[in-house]
Symmetry: C2
Amino acid sequence: MAAADLPQPSSRRRAATAARRRGNGDANRRTQLVRVAARLFRERGFNGTTVRDIAQAVGMRSGSPFYYFDSKEQILFAVMEEGLRVGLVRSEAAVASGGSARQRFAKLVRAHLGILLEDGSDFIPVMLYEWRRLPASYRRRLIAVKDRYDALWQQLIAELIAQGALRGDPKLARLLILGAVNFAATWYRRNGPLSIDQLAHATTEFFLTPARSGKAR
Amino acid sequence: MAAADLPQPSSRRRAATAARRRGNGDANRRTQLVRVAARLFRERGFNGTTVRDIAQAVGMRSGSPFYYFDSKEQILFAVMEEGLRVGLVRSEAAVASGGSARQRFAKLVRAHLGILLEDGSDFIPVMLYEWRRLPASYRRRLIAVKDRYDALWQQLIAELIAQGALRGDPKLARLLILGAVNFAATWYRRNGPLSIDQLAHATTEFFLTPARSGKAR
DNA sequence: CCTACCGATCGGTAGG
DNA sequence: CCTACCGATCGGTAGG
């Protein structure tokens, strides 16, 4: 028997108490598992994380996550589904807030960088990096949501190309821009010299052709 | 005992014979292991690939890779080291071939896309996707080579910014451009409508400001 | 390189 | 949710 499987009453009781204090039922406990799994999957990868790791991180014993999930793959699915849900809500809000195409693009870039880089934002990075680890049947269930995500970017990018703020084919432009932005998940350091706002602004300026109209600047 | 561990004389003998026909010593056999490991690590991830998988793919028995490598991590290191070595040679050649900064940029983009997308080019994608899986001591030994890679791009990008073909901070520009290009490793299909040459050309056009001088279009 | 093997770990389950 | 457990698999090794 591994040391990690031995009873550790004090820390276990502490975690369980903290959970209860938050006033949670099953739904809340499940949410905790998903959040903690996202962090571990991001840090160690899906196959580098054990169900025991996840259980321990929320103060459960090794077999208990299977009370909430049928399989480890289902936990991965839940992580990605949650990431897409929250990401889509925030991205749609950014675009719906109005303004010029350039302004909406700036807001969408900022929203996406937040989804990628803010504290607790491990869901979408897990999707980007562990997508191949998700069984095909689960993958199919997420692709519809992913398509809405892509369409959001694609429409805005097509608008920007139409008015000369970007060049080239809209689909390729989308792939290049999203690739550039998503890559920040690998190199951005929250303690570094660049705030997320600054990064979003500089990224927008990098991609968009300088505006023709000489607004005071 | 697992079925995969049971003797499978015919297929084993076939693989071993094929290897011998190529006329190889230990070095050649080691190279085979690295190449096959690159493919498997890319497809299944480092932790999703077993040493047995690698052994079987070159017609060895489960324990034999340890005649060539001390550990599974060392195989991963060898994959990344080989990727960086070949990648650096090809990238430096592209830049050294001369021409304007724009032309050298086009060649570097093409070379990098080849490294990422051509048949048998699994080494750099493994490095991009499994970097976190490499133990820190091995990581340190690769960073010097990675830095040369980055410097190559950075110098060229600085040149392009100086002459107005790109905007913004050189370091951020490098991260955005490399992110955009590297992302192709996840979406590009070799059987798709776009050749690597076409992709390289369109990517270059997307990033670089249209040239001022009106050369015969 | 193979044979034969080991200790450790892992996903998952039965029965409360 | 825990206890107690199982079968399978895995990285790695000794001794040729």
